[in-house]
Symmetry: D2
Subunit: 344 residues, 4 copies
């Protein structure tokens, strides 16, 4: 039986990426796509790249249009999914939220970073953090998935083998991460004009970024205790791609970091450990659901440098959401996600 899916907030970049990837998924039909601003307009008028791929009109995000679906994706700004989730779950709809609403276990922490109270704290205990490399079995049976953020995906996959093996000083982790501009979404802001982002590069949010609590929550779970993480995000003059450069210090000797990473990820369909000495390039995963990782070290004694790349809209958002969906509906995990990246 085919899955009937809906996308709330379909007109943003993660929404259109969901529509692109699901257009040819063998087992899913997207039957509802909502956009308050564009309701009544054809989806492919907004996105001509979807002409002859998606034959839908945008509709307003009403519960009534969503409650008889098998699955709803939220590709909305934070604060939306938490308003609609309880009613949809009660109607038997499974939910995959690509926003931040259900990523943090503690509603107080959420309120601190997002500036207003969490309105559905009662659902947090049942929400499953949708990183298959960590939570695969829990995802299969989940009714509510909190899809990881783009930075958190790259950083957690990069540190995971080191932390699980308890090899590094967990108080001295550094994540210097760089993202293409599509990560900032499809919002009219002067700071995201091409004249303000092309041909230039800068850090932002050094004093604090909302992905920091999400990442530290995940790393702490891997490490079995609190971690000290410096996280500095930067904005790249390009559209798609995240590159995480991760620094850690070994606290014990290890025979081969390369082997550690290869073994940890040997059965993972979307994590690809590159040969020793490699430098992953975001261009090699553009449009694909893959994370490519290289591990370097020990350097200068005890330093480990991990390089991890993803496409922020695919493995960092829509692709990962579909990977979770495949697990939830007992489909092949790679279904609809097989395509190679677009190079050059």
């Amino acid at each position: 039986m085919r899955i009937k899916a809906g996308i709330v907030g379909g007109s943003g970049y993660t929404g259109v990426e969901l529509l692109r990837l699901l257009a040819h998924h063998p087992d899913v039909d997207v039957v509802v796509a909502t956009s308050r601003a564009d309701a009544g307009k054809r989806v492919d008028e907004t996105y001509p790249s979807l002409r002859e791929h998606v034959d839908l009109l945008w509709v307003a995000p009403e519960l009534s249009a969503l409650s008889d679906l098998d699955l709803v994706f939220f590709a909305t700004p934070h604060g939306v999914a938490m308003q609609m989730a309880e009613a949809l779950l009660a109607a038997g709809v499974r939910l995959i939220d690509l926003s931040a609403d259900f990523r943090l276990a503690d509603p107080e922490v959420w309120a601190h970073w997002y500036g207003h109270p969490h309105t559905a704290p009662q659902l947090l205990a049942d929400a499953v953090y949708g990183l298959p490399e960590v939570n695969r079995e829990r995802i299969r049976t989940a009714r509510l998935i909190a899809c990881p953020g783009c930075y958190p995906t790259a950083v957690q996959l990069g540190f995971l083998p080191l932390l699980e093996a308890a090899l590094v000083d967990t108080g001295r982790l550094i994540a210097d991460v760089k993202s293409g501009v599509s990560g900032a979404g499809r919002k009219a802001e002067i700071s995201m004009l091409m004249s303000e982002t092309g041909e230039g590069f800068k850090a932002y949010g050094v004093a604090g970024h909302r992905h920091w609590p999400e990442i530290t929550q995940g790393l702490a779970a891997m490490a079995g205790g609190p971690v000290g993480l410096s996280f500095v995000p930067h904005l790249l003059p390009m559209i798609r791609g995240i590159h995480a450069t991760l620094y850690a210090e070994l606290t014990q000797s290890v025979s081969s970091l390369q082997t550690l990473y290869e073994q940890r990820y040997q059965h993972e369909p979307f994590v690809d450990v590159l040969p020793p000495g490699s430098h992953p390039d975001t261009r090699n995963v553009r449009g694909s659901n893959r994370c490519q990782i290289a591990v370097h070290g020990p350097l200068h004694g005890h330093r480990v440098v991990v390089l991890a790349v993803i496409d922020n809209l695919t493995k960092g958002a829509a692709g990962q959401a579909i990977q979770a969906m495949n697990l939830m509906f007992n489909l092949p995990e790679s279904s609809g996600l097989e395509a190679a990246g677009l190079y050059p």
Copy 2:
């Protein structure tokens, strides 16, 4: 029965695009990929985007490795296919040449524009120009396909309805075309460094470009007589995409240019006439085999302006070659080419 295919010159950009698209084609196995420079090396070492998609080593371009295949693609510089074609055809291999070797019917014209004699003029009569929108039936039975150039594809598809309907002054055609840098191939040239091509824009080849005789040959066939075409190519500071801006003058009244275009292309799977007033954007066909076209006019009396966009590596090269292959082997014409473009 599955098709066994080879790619000669697989390490250039049209080669890697063929490998990307064919990796998941349901009826084709690429079993040979040649690269003289990289012979012995893994294909996915050269192109990490193909890891877990292509499991081949590059081999040298020897006839012996190719002559038992069903099909060979040439993704080589001009002058290579003409050396190997006769022997391969004699061995029963069907050929799709993405280079310029068999595009021009007259070997003297070829010699004039390419600077040395054509070495296989005896094959020209059997070569079929692989533009399905013009030559679909001949492609089905062809043994040797000359795949159109990237500029010629966009320009011919843009002018086709006007010329077939004999509506415009054929002596006053103008094609102002713009291409991303991947059209220049993967060659070490100072002029193609990012410092020389990023954040800048220029024309080139105003005095004469090798695609001019190819385009005029095609347009003349559509018009049933000689055409006068000014063709000015430009280099865009981006990687993929061609935009053709075409100018013609109506010589008679026409009830609706929009209808003319829609009717001409209504059964074409890869030519998409946009609604009236549209401005096609190369970003909407990135990585897809689609040509999107808008027709504007009459403006200021008798002027017609046609806007046509393609991805130069897909509909302008590898995708179009696969479209031809599908026709030659009696497969669904869109097989392996269904994916939507990568947006944003």
Copy 3:
């Protein structure tokens, strides 16, 4: 005696370009810069590139702050300068308007293209169109300058020698022009996000663009009669630069187009005719006030192709305004405009 100048609308891209260029002009002090939104804030907080170059606070655009200046530049959206011009002129301030308010001689035409009535039609007769290559002497004594638009500068300089010499069919002019995104200004619009403009290319405004009446007005004056012009603007995936590709048809023979252009511009400090066969590149005029031009032809009989490049913010706006200012105040015409372009 030093010139006291003000800039109204200083926080847009033409405003900051004026501030950059005037910061080191030997005879001018910018003493007022207005920005309604940023009033009270330091100019170099908005534009850190101006730190230690500009020591001003933004002020609100009040007449009282401007009426004792020698000169005011308007770098505002259309409709602002026409509200303030009369009072400032009455106070003895000379004005250089970089907006469209005084470019069109006929207020009815203005109203048609800009959608509301012109509120200062009585000033149009005294406004001088600030293209020094055409109007140098009138600029010297003008009290109100209408600075040409960016596209109109490139197109008019490109066609000028042909039209003055009455060599071409004035009914069949074509201007296929391409602009970097800074031409669209510093406004929060989704369509100008880097995700929407990077790595892609499209035409816009084919059915009609506000620069069309300005250009045709100028070309008609050169030709001594009405002209027929097709004008198609395009958006380049880069920040600065305009490239005009111009097409015309010779109506009589000419001994040397190259000589025609070289002679016409031999005394022009900012128009540079490149050697025969050249292809000007916008990168060679980035940040400079220069227009580089190449003329090709006759091609295919009677076709002339002219290629002209400028930096849209410099020769296409702020630099040209300063060139006019230098003329108005009897300074060396190149004062403050000597720097070479930034390459690469």
Copy 4:
């Protein structure tokens, strides 16, 4: 008396940047520019951005053409300056070497990193490392300047106040640095094509980069002892600009990092400490000789994050060389370097 200067290796990007900046320097005439490949050709044929700014022909790099000059800049690959330096110094010419030949004090270290012996080790003791913020007085009297590399400039200026004040753990320094592609020079390499560098991002040289020994030598001098530095360079999809993100750990409390930085650099004409909480953007120093720095911290207890941006061709190469020249010839230190950056 005006300074007569020559540039050896003028046709690379640091060479053309020297020519651009010196074209309007009030006290210097560039009278010789060498390029073996282009000898006999006009400089402005190679670089049309210099038309009407530089009226020279390229000549071959012969000692005879250089030995009567006051000053010679080497903008050559490593290994060239060391061959010509002794003879030119003997002829009384002062030298500023922008290559790596005289940056490392120990010729054995040089040989290790550059792969062949140093051929002028006898000159190393007299070579002065041309970072004015550290060596201003020695530069004034130097006869041979080793101009710092681009990465080393940004990293050293960023760490300098912390190390001089002995505030941080010198064994745990991290420099995560990102550079535009012009830093790789003007060489025909496939890896630097726009198709390989645009719209993508990667690290390189993690296992070892030639700037590491230069940086550690400089940092050790500041710290008064050996330092442990992890240095990871990355390639940005843009042309000009370097961004250094620097991480250190405080070993003692400090009342205000902001004040420390502001005081250290208060008299420096080209180092600009931004207000607290700032994120410097490479776009704000494009084409300027300025380094903009922000210091953040302490974060999460004892972490300091320093952000430093320069234009790699200006403060990271040609501008810094001119700054040194100004000091050597007793000119105002900012002479010829006053221009604001090109924004946007």
